[in-house]
C-alpha cells in the first residue's frame, strides 16, 4: 500500500520533460515535490499563471500571487500571467499536456465524479469540468476504497459526473490502472507493495483487464 507521499511520487512518473501540467488540490499538489531535476515541467494554475513556483519564503507572501487553491506561491524565471479567459482557452483548447486530480468515484468507462455529493452543500465545480474536458491526458489519484470500505472504482458512478469518459489513468493507494485510449478498457498495470490481485478484485467493482506479466514494485 502506498502512502499519500508515495502516491504523489508514483503520479509524478507520468510527467514527461517539456510537459505543461495542471495539478489539482490535495495529493495532486504534492506531485510537484517529485519532479525530476533534469525535467523541465511547467505548472499551470487555472487562475491565470504558467510557471508556478514553490511557496514563498516567510515575509515574501504576496496577496496578488496565489494558486487555484488560494495559497500564496512564488514566480519562476519563466513564469507568465494571463486572464481567466486565456487560462481556460489554453485548458479547453488542448494545450495542457496532463492534468492530475482527485476523485470521489471513477467508473470503468472513464467517467469521473469529484465535485458534489447530493444532500451535502454544493460548493461548485470550479475548473474541474473544464480541465477534464480539455486537457490531453487526465490522471486521477485517489484512495482505492471509501472510508466505509466500499469500492470507488465502479461499474458506473453514482455521484453526479464531472466528466463523461475522461479518465486515462487511475492511481490508487493500492494499484495503477491505465488505458491506451478512451475506447479501451482499463488494465491493471501495477500493484503497490504487499498488494495482491486478489485484494484488488475484492475491493474493486469496476471491470478491468489484467496485464500479464504484472509489474511488481
Amino acid at each position: 500500500m502506498w502512502s499519500r507521499e508515495q502516491l504523489a511520487a508514483r503520479a509524478a512518473k507520468e510527467l514527461q520533460d517539456g510537459f505543461y501540467v495542471n495539478l489539482g488540490i490535495g495529493i495532486p499538489t504534492l506531485v510537484a515535490n517529485y519532479i525530476e531535476h533534469d525535467q523541465h515541467i511547467v505548472l499551470q494554475s487555472e487562475n491565470g499563471m504558467l510557471g508556478m513556483g514553490p511557496f514563498p519564503y516567510a515575509g515574501e507572501e504576496d496577496a496578488d500571487l496565489i494558486n487555484a487553491g488560494k495559497q500564496t506561491i512564488s514566480t519562476l524565471p519563466y513564469s507568465s500571467f494571463f486572464s481567466s479567459a486565456d487560462s481556460f482557452a489554453m485548458i479547453r483548447g488542448g494545450h495542457i499536456d496532463l492534468s492530475i486530480l482527485g476523485a470521489m468515484e471513477v467508473a470503468e468507462n472513464g467517467d469521473l465524479a469529484n465535485w458534489m455529493v447530493p444532500g451535502k452543500m454544493i460548493k461548485g465545480m470550479g475548473g474541474a469540468m473544464d480541465l477534464v474536458a480539455g486537457v490531453k491526458r487526465v490522471v486521477v489519484v485517489m484512495e482505492h476504497v471509501a472510508k466505509d470500505g466500499s469500492a470507488k472504482f465502479k461499474p458506473k458512478c453514482l455521484l453526479p459526473l464531472t466528466g463523461a469518459n475522461v479518465v486515462d489513468m487511475l492511481i490508487t493507494d493500492l494499484a495503477v490502472f491505465s488505458r491506451p485510449d478512451r475506447n479501451s478498457k482499463f488494465e491493471l498495470i501495477e500493484l503497490a507493495p504487499g498488494v495482491t490481485v486478489e485484494e484488488i478484485n475484492a475491493k474493486t467493482t469496476a471491470a478491468f483487464t489484467l496485464k500479464a506479466p504484472m509489474a511488481s514494485i
Partner: protein, 242 residues
C-alpha cells in the same frame, strides 16, 4: 487635429467609489465583480455597493468572498438574490442562506463562466463547448455531436454594471493588472453596460507604454483611485529558509 495629452479625457475619473457608482444602481440589476477568491477584488467598490443598500442583485463572480470580506459583506446584508459562480466553498453565510432557500445559485464551470463573459463582451451570442457534456451542466442545453464529441451550447453573459480592480490605471481608463490579481477582471470589464474600475495607482494618460496596457480604456467608463486596501490572504503558505 490630433488631441494632445493636455486635453485628454478626465471625465472618467471620479473622486471616490460612492460617486463612481452614482446613478448606476437600482434593485434587481446584474453586477459582475472581478477577482479570484479575495485576490484582485474591487474592495472599495464592493464597500460602496454594500453601503448603497441596493437589493435583489444578481452577482456574476467566480467566488462569493468569505464571511465579512468581499462579496461575503453583501450576502450578510441580504442584498444578493442570485449568484452565478463556479465555486463558493469558503463562505458559511452563503451556505446558510442557500440551504434556507434564500439565495439562488447558478454554478458554471470556471472556464465556461470566463468564456461566457468573454463572449458577452465580444458580441458572441453563444458557443459550443465540450466542458460539462454528459454532466448535470448539460441539462436543458442544446447539444451537437461533432466528430464523435458532444458539445453543449453556452450563452454569452452581460451585466448592467461591472466592478473591476486593477493595479494601475490612467485617466483614459487604460488598465494594468498585477500577477494573478488579473483573473476575471479584464473579461468582466468588456461585458457590462458600464464598467467601473478601481486602481491602486491612478496616473495621467501617457504614463504607460501602450504595449503594456492589458485593458484598453474603451472598456472602462468610470475610474477611481482606491484607498485602504487590505488585500487579505486566504491561505498563507510559506516554505522555510534552508
Amino acid at each position: 487635429m490630433i488631441p494632445s495629452v493636455a486635453i485628454s479625457n478626465q471625465r472618467k475619473v471620479f473622486p471616490d467609489a460612492t460617486s463612481a457608482l452614482q446613478g448606476l444602481l437600482s434593485d434587481g440589476i446584474t453586477v459582475m465583480s472581478g477577482g479570484f477568491g479575495l485576490c484582485g477584488i474591487p474592495e472599495n467598490l464592493l464597500l460602496a455597493l454594500r453601503d448603497s443598500s441596493v437589493k435583489n442583485l444578481t452577482i456574476i463572480s467566480n467566488n462569493a468572498g468569505i464571511d465579512d470580506v468581499g462579496l461575503g459583506m453583501l450576502l450578510k446584508t441580504r442584498q444578493v438574490k442570485k449568484m452565478i459562480s463556479s465555486y463558493v466553498g469558503e463562505n458559511k453565510e452563503f451556505e446558510r442562506q442557500y440551504l434556507a432557500g434564500e439565495l439562488q445559485i447558478e454554478f458554471n464551470p470556471q472556464g465556461t463562466l470566463a468564456e461566457r463573459i468573454r463572449a458577452g463582451g465580444a458580441g458572441i451570442y453563444g458557443f459550443y463547448t465540450r466542458t460539462g457534456a454528459g454532466t448535470s451542466v448539460a441539462e436543458g442545453k442544446e447539444s451537437r455531436i461533432v466528430n464523435g464529441q458532444t458539445y453543449i451550447l453556452e450563452m454569452g453573459l452581460t451585466a448592467d454594471v461591472a466592478i473591476v480592480k486593477a493595479w494601475r490605471g490612467d485617466t483614459e481608463g487604460n488598465l494594468i493588472y498585477r500577477k494573478t490579481a488579473r483573473n476575471f477582471n479584464p473579461v468582466m470589464a468588456t461585458a457590462a453596460r458600464v464598467t467601473v474600475a478601481e486602481v491602486e495607482e491612478l496616473v495621467p494618460a501617457g504614463s504607460f507604454d501602450p504595449d503594456h496596457i492589458h485593458t484598453p480604456g474603451i472598456y472602462v467608463q468610470r475610474l477611481i483611485q482606491g484607498t485602504h486596501y487590505t488585500k487579505q490572504i486566504e491561505q498563507r503558505t510559506v516554505r522555510p529558509r534552508s
